[in-house]
């Protein structure tokens, strides 16, 4: 099946610091989605990227899709306590979604 590596597994930041999580694939991806899961909650869709080199922003969140469409990143500027949770990337191929292992973000007030 599709392998999607996500790093880091955990990240602890002071409130106000920036945060970045990365997804990498050995194969070219047609698309990538990002989800956020709060502790004890369910994954919630954030965004989808489909174009090479695409950059999308949602307030303090910036999403990028690599030029070769083999990697993607999610960057949060000036983290807040509301950003706490696990961030997952997911790729769609062969009628199935494959999720990365997630990056768990802790924000220290």
């Amino acid at each position: 099946g599709q392998q999607v590596m996500q790093i880091p597994q955990y990240q602890h930041v002071q409130e106000g610091e920036d945060f970045t999580t990365y997804c990498n694939s050995s194969t070219t991806l047609s698309n990538i989605q990002w989800y956020k899961q709060r502790p004890g909650g369910h994954p919630v869709f954030l965004i989808q990227l489909v174009k090479s080199g695409e950059v999308k922003k949602q307030k303090r969140l910036t999403f990028q899709f690599g030029e070769a469409k083999k990697n993607s990143s999610l960057h949060i500027t000036a983290t807040q306590t509301t950003d706490v949770g696990t961030y997952f990337c997911a790729v769609y191929t062969g009628n199935q979604f494959y999720f990365g292992t997630g990056t768990s973000l802790t924000v220290i007030p």
């Binding site: 989605q33 989800y35 369910h42 994954p43 869709f45 997952f88 769609y92 009628n95 979604f97 494959y98």
Partner: protein
């Protein structure tokens, strides 16, 4: 706005028992999915359906069966539960290709 509803929310089983998890969506979505989530392993697809009456195997289908007799419902069955099936199970649905998945609140299943 119910969205995706999973029942039950919690369940404890003994090894060898059987049970069915129900997922219901009210968004008229074609595609439905069952995932399991284990610590450090993200979400892994068990089975999925691309429409009423259809089912297909995902990444980790062994020990599970599914049925989609009605478009709005997707059932996940465990015929003979094993401790390795202790997990949080999420159901999701989506409208069409490249549309986002909408997840239910999950079922926390423990097998002793």
């Amino acid at each position: 706005n119910a969205g995706v509803t999973q029942t039950p929310k919690f369940r404890v089983l003994k090894t060898g028992q059987s049970m069915t998890l129900l997922c219901a969506q009210d968004m008229n979505h074609e595609y439905m999915y069952w995932y399991r989530q284990d610590p450090g392993m993200g979400l892994r697809l068990i089975h999925y359906s691309v429409g009423e009456g259809t089912t297909a195997k995902g990444e980790v289908p062994d020990g599970y069966n599914v049925s989609r007799l009605k478009k709005q419902n997707f059932l996940l069955g465990l015929e003979s539960a094993a401790p390795s099936q202790t997990s949080v199970y999420f159901c999701a649905s989506r409208d069409s290709i490249l549309q986002p998945q909408h997840f239910g609140d999950g079922t926390r299943l423990s097998i002793l």
